[in-house]
Symmetry: C2
DNA sequence: ACCAGGAGACTGGTCAGACCAGTTGAATTC
DNA sequence: GAATTCAACTGGTCTGACCAGTCTCCTGGT
């Protein structure tokens, strides 16, 4: 044996609230407590776990900050079990982004990779209903750009389009991450996307872009779909990222 | 206006512990409280925030479960501020993976995408020191495979190699996510990687694979590096994922 | 018979005070 | 001077209390 193997693991103290949280989390993740179901009230949990209320509350706080449950004062049904949502992932990524640990350039580069691969896979694996959903979102964008609805609604349709693409790719994780990174980017730059003057032009260009992507996906041309996705992000963000990180975007731009 | 815009936002109650947690988080993320620094003791926070101790503790619990601080009983210096670590991202992704919301196939497919793009970017952007670090890890793998060290140490070197690649790509996020997904995969399948008999063969093959990747990156051949990364994951996992999701891997396999 | 309104029994959010076990560092002892 | 002891902390937990909501159900008026 090259190195003396330690037989015993260092034992670290396990807090009471941790064990409570773990038990509940286990039940949730195992499907025992499906989304929408209710936890017992805090006082009931107190007696079931045989701990103090503060302990139970700290455990619930942990679960709540993990997005697993939600509680509402006065609710006689107890805390509500939530499905796993990407919100928490967004927040985590957002923190990562804020803490200079990753730059805006990195975020955008990451999005370029995710969107491009999402598109590529969607081109290969899409079903008819996927295509229909994408087309539907594009139509919604048109309606919204014609009316005077806010940019916010337009962005929402945009996001839904990308979600449809991600679902078509068969990989919800891709979509979730892309969405989370998108949110993180929005949080980093305040993204007053464009002043009202440019808004119309921008929306038109965006719609045209999405049409191209949809066409490429429909044709099964993954390479084109991927390139389109990358290029759009590059065009939009290239002159907004930090000076030093533009090379990241360029590198992510061309396929080879 | 096509739809009546609501002028007022719905106001949701903000809990006291939330505001406490937000204030502290803000100070940490803004760099005001750098990693390694200490928070005041709980009783001190109680008087600064003018709330009860349970409120302060619930706030600290939230921050702790977000990986921002760590506290130790009896520590007269107060809770320690941690840097942003990818651990939390791993846990979040792990939960996502466990909650049938994403399958093993999706996880592996995601890894294929991340690793491949990581390799491709590294081929384009690497520096000499990056290459040196990768080579170093490969050497370590050789040493470990020769000796009788556990597979665990070998895997660690493997992970460090991938981390070096990710750093070379200039995008720490890619590496972080790849690592998180890797951990999630490990958690899902118990990954008794291979029985001792196969271990040696497997390690040799793994080393050969990493050599190829390193060579491709050194040559700046991004396409090859990407293909190698994808192929290795496919070979390893193709017959371990659920029956229905193998097509995901195949789809992610070929570039076009 | 029906519905509005109110009383009461809950809920979660917060606070105050207490105790315990563990850590620390200075005072004490050898 | 080095080892030991001790007192003053710390965070972790428990208890019991109060508040402001929310729900249920019962009541009283129409």
């Amino acid at each position: 044996m090259s190195a003396e193997e330690a037989i015993f693991q260092p034992v670290e103290p396990v807090r009471a609230y941790q064990r409570v949280a773990e038990q509940i989390e286990e039940r949730i993740l195992s499907g025992d407590l499906p989304p929408g179901s209710r936890l017992p009230g805090e006082r009931e949990l107190v007696s079931q776990f045989a701990v103090g209320r503060s302990t139970v509350r700290e455990a619930l706080r942990v679960l709540q900050s993990a997005g697993l449950v939600r509680s509402r004062p006065g609710d006689p049904l107890g805390a509500e079990v939530l499905g796993i949502t990407p919100d928490n992932l967004s927040r985590t990524l957002g923190r990562l982004a804020r803490s200079h640990l990753s730059t805006l350039g990195e975020l955008v580069q990451f999005r370029m990779v995710l969107d491009a691969e999402s598109n590529r896979l969607a081109a290969r694996l899409h079903s008819e209903s996927d295509l229909a959903r994408m087309a539907e979102q594009i139509e919604r964008m048109e309606t919204l750009s014609a009316g005077e609805a806010g940019l916010h609604a337009f962005s929402e349709a945009d996001a839904l389009f990308h979600q449809a693409v991600a679902e078509a790719s068969g990989n919800s994780l891709l979509g979730l991450c892309a969405r989370a990174v998108h949110d993180a980017v929005v949080e980093v730059i305040e993204e007053k996307i464009a002043v009202a003057a440019d808004a119309t032009v921008w929306m038109q260009r965006s719609i045209a872009h999405h049409r191209q992507v949809l066409a490429a996906i429909r044709d099964g041309d993954g390479a084109l779909a991927a390139r389109l996705g990358r290029q759009a992000l590059y065009d939009y963000y290239a002159d907004r990222v930090e000076e030093g990180t533009r090379r990241l975007l360029s590198a992510a731009l061309d396929e080879e």
